[in-house]
C-alpha cells in the first residue's frame, strides 16, 4: 500500500491503482460516466477531471495510475469549469423529460448535474433534433438517440463479454448513434445477456416494447 493525498486527506491505495477508482472507494466523489473498472480508460465523457500536484492542467482521473506521494485536488476552479462545460455539452444533445424517462432518479446525469450545480434544462438554448431519427425499429432492444450520451460503456462491455462487440458507433459527430446490424439494416436483435442495458448510465438502451426480457 502507498499513500496519496486527495484534497489534503491521506488515503492508502495499491500502487498502480486507478485514481478514479481509488477516490471513489475512499468515498471521494468525482463525477464520471464512461469509466468501467478493469477496462482501459476510454476517457470519452471528460467529466472526471482532477488537478495533479505537478501538472498545470487538469487531467481525467480515470487515465491516471497512482504513484506514491501523488497530490490530487478534486475541487479547483479549473476542474469545475471543465466538468461543467463537459456536462453542459452532454445535456445540450439530451432530451430532458425526466418525468417520463425510465431512468428517472437513477440517471447518472441527474446526479452529476446536482453535484456540479448545473441546471438540467436550458430554456435559452433551442432543443436539437435527435440524431438519426427515431430509435431503431424492428429489433429487440432500442437505443434512444435523444438520451444516449455516447459514453461507449455498452460497446465496451459487449466486447469484453463476447470477444467482439456487436454494438458499434455509427455515423459521426452530432449524428452518432449506437447500434448493431441485423441482416439488412441497423437494429439490435440480441438479448443474450442484457449487460448493455445494465451498464447504461442514463437508461438510453432498453427493451423494445413487446420484446422478451433477457432475464426471464
Amino acid at each position: 500500500m502507498i499513500e496519496i493525498r486527495v484534497d489534503g486527506q491521506p488515503i492508502a491505495v495499491c500502487p498502480g491503482a486507478n485514481l478514479l477508482e481509488a477516490c471513489l472507494a475512499a468515498g471521494i466523489y468525482i463525477p464520471h460516466l464512461c469509466h468501467l473498472p478493469g477496462l482501459p480508460a476510454a476517457a470519452s465523457c471528460r467529466l472526471c477531471f482532477v488537478a495533479l500536484g505537478d501538472r498545470p492542467d487538469p487531467v481525467p482521473a480515470c487515465t491516471v495510475a497512482v504513484q506514491p506521494g501523488l497530490e490530487v485536488l478534486t475541487d479547483t476552479p479549473a476542474v469545475r469549469r471543465l466538468q461543467r462545460s463537459a456536462l453542459e455539452l452532454l445535456l445540450s444533445a439530451h432530451t430532458i423529460d425526466c418525468r417520463r424517462c425510465p431512468a428517472n432518479r437513477r440517471c447518472a446525469l441527474q446526479r452529476i448535474a446536482r453535484f456540479l450545480k448545473v441546471p438540467l434544462k436550458r430554456p435559452d438554448l433551442p432543443p436539437l433534433d435527435p440524431p438519426g431519427g427515431p430509435p431503431g425499429t424492428g429489433g429487440e432492444l432500442v437505443v434512444d438517440p435523444s438520451h444516449c450520451v455516447l459514453c461507449g460503456r455498452c460497446v465496451r462491455t459487449c466486447r469484453r463479454l463476447h470477444g467482439h462487440s456487436r454494438l458499434t458507433f455509427a455515423g459521426r459527430g452530432q449524428r452518432t448513434v449506437v447500434t448493431d446490424w441485423v441482416e439488412t439494416g441497423p437494429a439490435i436483435r440480441c438479448t443474450d445477456c442484457g449487460a448493455c442495458i445494465e451498464v447504461c448510465p442514463v437508461g438510453a438502451i432498453r427493451l423494445a416494447p413487446g420484446a422478451n426480457d433477457p432475464e426471464s
Binding site: H164, A170, W181, E183, G185
Partner: protein
C-alpha cells in the same frame, strides 16, 4: 451517412448481389482492406446494398455492425441506389448561412424521403454536399447536372414539376415514334 432505421433501401437486385460477391472475393482477408472493399463495392454498384455489411463482415472476420459503423462514418458511402435525378443540396458555409437547410427540408417534404435516400420509383435521390464553388449563388441546389442558384422554398415544387413534365413529354414522344411499343409505364 447514417441509414435511418425508419426507411429501408429497395430490395437488392440479384445481379447486384452477384457483382457484390465477386468484388468481395477478390480482396484479401485483411481488416485494413475494409474501406477499399467498400469503395470497390460502391464503384461497381453505385451504393452499398444492405447485404454488403454481413458479407464483408464474414469475409474479414468482423461483425456486420463494425462494417456499418465504418461505412456510416464517411459521407462518401451511400446506402440507397442513386435516383435518375440526383438532387444535391449545398450546405457549405455560404449556403448554410443562406438557410440551405430549409431548402433541403422542402425537398425532403415534397419527395417524402430524407437526405441520403431515394424515392421508391428511383426517380429522385437527395443528398447534402459541402460547398460546390458558387457561393455567390447561395443557397444552391444541383438537380441532375444543372445548378440552381438563389434557391427559394417556393421554387422547389416547380423544379420537381418541370422534371416530371419533361419525363412525360419524353415518354409521349417515345410512344409516338414507335406506336407498337408496349406500355410506357414499364420502361
Amino acid at each position: 451517412m447514417l441509414l435511418n432505421p425508419s426507411a429501408a433501401p429497395p430490395p437488392t437486385e440479384p445481379e447486384v448481389l452477384e457483382t457484390l460477391g465477386g468484388i468481395v472475393a477478390r480482396f484479401d482477408r485483411r481488416r485494413a482492406l475494409l474501406v477499399p472493399i467498400l469503395q470497390a463495392v460502391q464503384a461497381q454498384c453505385a451504393y452499398l446494398p444492405p447485404e454488403t455489411m454481413p458479407l464483408v463482415g464474414r469475409h474479414l472476420g468482423i461483425a456486420a455492425s463494425e462494417v456499418y459503423g465504418v461505412a456510416s462514418f464517411y459521407n462518401q458511402f451511400r446506402f440507397f441506389p442513386p435516383g435518375r435525378h440526383p438532387i444535391r443540396i449545398c450546405l457549405g458555409t455560404a449556403c448554410h448561412v443562406k438557410a440551405g437547410d430549409i431548402i433541403l427540408e422542402n425537398f425532403e417534404r415534397k419527395l417524402g424521403i430524407q437526405e441520403g435516400q431515394t424515392t421508391a420509383d428511383r426517380e429522385f435521390s437527395l443528398e447534402r454536399v459541402a460547398c460546390v464553388g458558387c457561393c455567390a449563388l447561395a443557397p444552391v441546389a444541383i438537380v441532375g447536372e444543372t445548378v440552381h442558384g438563389h434557391m427559394q422554398p417556393s421554387k422547389v415544387e416547380g423544379l420537381l414539376l418541370q422534371i416530371q413534365i419533361a419525363r412525360e413529354k419524353a415518354q409521349r414522344e417515345a410512344a409516338a415514334a414507335s406506336p407498337q411499343a408496349e406500355d410506357p409505364s414499364d420502361d
